[in-house]
């Protein structure tokens, strides 16, 4: 446990100034971090599904999560035209796979890239794909993101 750590559950997002945002067990899901470096406000979302289809707002969908996170960051002094993004996840954990729906990771990555484009947010770094689960820490004090792999090893992005 790190100091000032806040856990982001599956399909949730959190926004903070200074705290470390953490999400565990990203498989095909994706952790999207947004950051305004000028005021050091950041957010992290654990999204499960690529696109909402006119349903009620929920951070489980990538498009809603980005929108809701930007709004929450604005309330903490962030400006949307300064926001940058990082993302991690979208792995393919199944070695032998018979169900096509389990291939959701790739679809998530594609959808999120185009959603970020729509919002005019620059994706500065990413760590996606592979065959392992990830736990992600996002340091809102400086915008760094730590990716820890489930079979060991870590990466700063």
């Amino acid at each position: 446990m790190m100091r000032n750590e806040m856990l982001v559950g599956i399909g949730e997002f959190r926004v903070a100034k200074g705290a470390v945002l953490k999400t565990v067990g990203l498989g095909s899901c994706i952790g999207i971090a947004l950051y305004d470096p000028a005021v050091k406000v950041g957010g992290l979302a654990h999204v499960m599904l690529p696109q909402s289809n006119g349903t009620k707002r929920s951070a489980k969908y990538a498009d809603h999560a980005v929108e809701m996170m930007i709004e929450a960051m604005e309330r903490l002094g962030g400006k949307r035209d300064r926001v940058i993004a990082k993302m991690a996840g979208g792995a393919q954990l199944f070695k032998h796979m018979t169900m096509d729906m389990l291939r959701i990771g790739d679809r998530n990555v594609e959808a999120i890239s185009s959603i970020l484009d729509d919002f005019g947010i620059r994706l500065v770094s990413k760590d996606i794909g592979g065959d392992q689960g990830r736990t992600v820490y996002f340091f809102t004090s400086d915008g760094r993101m730590l990716v820890r792999y489930s079979r060991g090893g870590e990466l700063w992005i």
Partner: protein, 202 residues
């Protein structure tokens, strides 16, 4: 359509019973296959908010897991079975069946076969109880922390509901060498079966 978050105690009991019989049958097949007595623990049924799943499912340990979808021949998917094996148990199982655990591929495919047998046995039981024919898809296999393995399933269920029902039970042999965790994630169609089952009782 009945919704998952509003299941009452009686309905959860019916689900527990259905799961119980399904896994019981699976335990019998497994003990025949292994030539050992396999016991099952009292099953637990929980209705969990997706956001809080990490409180219910182990997020630290790496496990070998097999996922199958349960398909209703008449009208589509009814849920998923996730069967996971702690590392020590997967080696013991492979040892009992293969006599040798040096070939990782063989161990993995043994676990898949066990997953296959358990899910078929489970489907037999629901067929007997409900006269509903469920067919398990061939198993998909992964080795990782459990929550990352099931997130694709949970995503699927999350399109319909913010809650998931988790039916969980443990299969163990008497020497405590083998432990298998069976989890059932019913979707709203499976919930319909539960109501049907209750209708039969009344």
């Amino acid at each position: 359509m009945h919704s998952i978050e509003n299941l009452s105690e009686i309905e959860l009991d019916a689900l527990r019973e259905l799961g119980n019989i399904g896994v019981g049958k699976a335990a019998t097949s497994l003990s025949q296959m292994l030539g050992r007595i396999i016991e099952m623990s009292v099953p637990v049924v929980k209705v969990v908010k997706v956001q809080e799943l990490h409180n219910v499912i182990d997020v630290d340990k790496i496990v070998a897991g097999v996922v199958t979808a349960l398909d209703d021949v008449e009208d589509g998917q009814a849920g998923f079975l996730y069967i996971n094996f702690p590392e020590q148990s997967s080696l013991k199982l492979a040892e009992a069946l293969l006599g040798d655990t040096s070939d990782e591929e063989m161990v993995d495919s043994t676990l898949m076969e066990i997953g296959n047998i358990l899910s078929s046995a489970f489907c037999d039981a629901t067929a007997e109880m409900l006269e509903k024919i469920l067919i398990p898809t061939p198993p998909s296999f992964a080795k990782d922390i459990a929550i990352a393995v099931i997130d694709a399933i949970v995503s699927q269920l999350a399109e319909k509901s913010d809650y998931v029902v988790v039916f969980e039970t443990k299969l163990e042999d008497s020497e405590n060498e083998i432990e298998i965790l069976v989890m059932l994630f019913p979707n709203e169609k499976f919930v319909e079966y539960i109501f049907q089952l209750l209708g039969m009782v009344e």
